[in-house]
Symmetry: C2
Subunit: 332 residues, 2 copies
């Protein structure tokens, strides 16, 4: 069995690779030339059909974990053509090349809970058949990619082509990049702990409740989907956690007294107050469920960042996203 | 009131333009540079956001009939990236530029009944809420474009932006290009009538039943949508007609004895036997319904082609699509 991971330089792909290797799978990792982490990576531009066909056939691939895509919300908002070219065109090329290979290939399309959009709280937890009303360009692009995948599932000329769609909700854990709430909080607090910055953290809407799952549990579901499953699967914990709870837990990892400042620029009035999923389909059909506790995920995410931070002050633009200011009252 | 028609060099746009001019509307027609029919056309590449913004604002546009798109099935099958770039990216750019204009703009998005795909006969006639299972890249691209439009309808930052979606079923009438069943039959039969080719016509599946509406009725619905309506509208007659019926009627326009040959290469086993829509939403909300009879549409389509054909033998590649061969028995 040869598995191929596209977009293999990303956060989730690193964990998936580790899992597959630990299960003695043969794994090919691909990424764009400039994103290759080392020489073991194969160059693949998923926007190029010929390139997809070549890689899938040359390596005799049996399973494809299609993780390549543009996830950065800002890029999707500012360059929709690029977003659909990669997120939708990429899925098309991978599936078309798999179809044209005329071999048995199973493709796991990584979609997103962003497909759902602003679902009313009364409809929570969200099931796979909840009508999608995506609110971001990223969410729209992922829903479109699903349409492409569904078309191949319904009408493929290659009877050996199998395709399944995963809709992961928020996932957390070690190695996640800045720009998401957990690494942002962890980075600030780890820096405070190391005395690199002032002991104040600025935060957005702490009341929103979201559904977090450890990335190491998520990739186990992807692996399960390489062996069975049909259609679309929510991958989530089903447990709502307030952003405030994340902050409180991570603050507790620190020995320092840290002040929290509410930043109204970070408050998005349009955010839905509650967003949680129902993963019973994955539980019933894949015998999958999350194993790693919420606290453990945060602990591991924090420890990873704490260990990665060296003593130097960093002034990257990503850092500016989590600029801190002062205020006393928010968290006791 | 200034109306803008994108993709104005096409079959439907010509009829829409005529209707608007007859109603004393101010009309701007746009098309790609190389598709401009004359100097009155404004150049617009809908894949270019800046270009869209400039045209919409410079001409102070109130209504946009967004007809620009790639409709040729072969192009969509062979170049999906191009299809989504134009059919989906174009809708995004037109709506985003309209949103960013911060003015009252009403956009009529021309989608397609191809969004529905292979619907089971038991679910006919198709209503707007019938779940879509598009079977062609063109249909997928149109469904994606609708997703984009729906996102703008749900979440637009410009409260004066209005958007409505039309799902026309097959439309026929004068000026339609070759590659569709009616102009293909008309061209062959008119040529036979003029003695330019042998009196034999080859045909595909004559048993399939489809829903045809005259293009001049369809554009009246678009015009009605420029004034009212919300959401998605089927535009169709609701009357099933066999392809054989079209052939019989057009054969009757000719004084010649014409032989019909079944061509198994033209038989698509995958075709759905029956495909008809329900336009009651358009009837109830827009007070729209078809006025031109099926026979009259075919007569006008035939007469237009008959008058356009000069005495010379034409050998274009489009012609090759309707190559004729011999057989006696199909139609008595």
């Amino acid at each position: 069995m040869t598995s191929l991971i596209t977009g293999a330089s990303g956060f989730v792909a690193k964990h998936l690779y580790e899992l597959l290797i630990n299960n003695n799978e043969e794994v090919i990792r691909t990424s764009l030339e400039h994103e290759k982490l080392d020489d073991s990576f194969v160059t693949l531009d998923v926007c190029n059909y010929d390139n997809c066909y070549e890689v899938i056939n040359n390596y005799n691939v049996d399973v494809i974990y299609h993780l390549a895509g543009i996830a950065a919300p800002k890029v999707c908002e500012n360059n929709f053509q690029l977003a659909i070219s990669v997120n939708v065109g990429g899925v098309y090329n991978i599936l078309k090349a798999s179809e044209d290979s005329n071999k048995k290939v199973r493709v796991i399309i990584i979609s997103s809970s962003e497909c759902y959009g602003k679902i009313d709280s009364s409809l929570m937890p969200i099931k796979e058949d909840t009508p999608c009303v995506p609110a971001s360009n990223y969410g729209v692009s992922k829903l479109m990619a699903e349409e492409v995948a569904l078309k191949f599932m319904r009408y493929s000329k290659n009877p050996y082509l199998e395709c399944v769609i995963a809709r992961p909700f928020n996932h957390i854990g070690p190695k996640q990049n800045l720009g998401f709430v957990v690494p942002d909080f962890c980075t600030q607090i780890a820096k405070i702990e190391k005395g690199l910055i002032e002991p104040t953290i600025s935060v957005g809407n702490l009341e929103a409740q979201r559904d977090f799952t450890d990335v190491r549990d998520i990739v186990k579901a992807y692996y399960a989907l390489s062996k069975k499953g049909k259609g679309i699967y929510n991958l989530c914990s089903g447990e709502p956690h307030k952003i405030k709870e994340i902050l409180d837990i991570i603050l507790n990892f620190s020995s320092k007294e840290i002040q929290v400042k509410e930043d109204h620029n970070r408050m998005r009035a349009s955010d839905v107050p509650l967003f949680i999923g129902d993963a019973s389909k994955a539980k019933n059909e894949l015998q999958w469920e999350k194993k790693i506790s919420f606290k453990q995920s945060l602990r591991d995410a924090y420890d990873y960042i704490y260990e990665s931070i060296n003593g130097l002050k960093i002034d990257s633009s990503a850092e500016k996203e989590v600029t801190i200011t002062r205020d006393k009252n928010l968290i006791p």
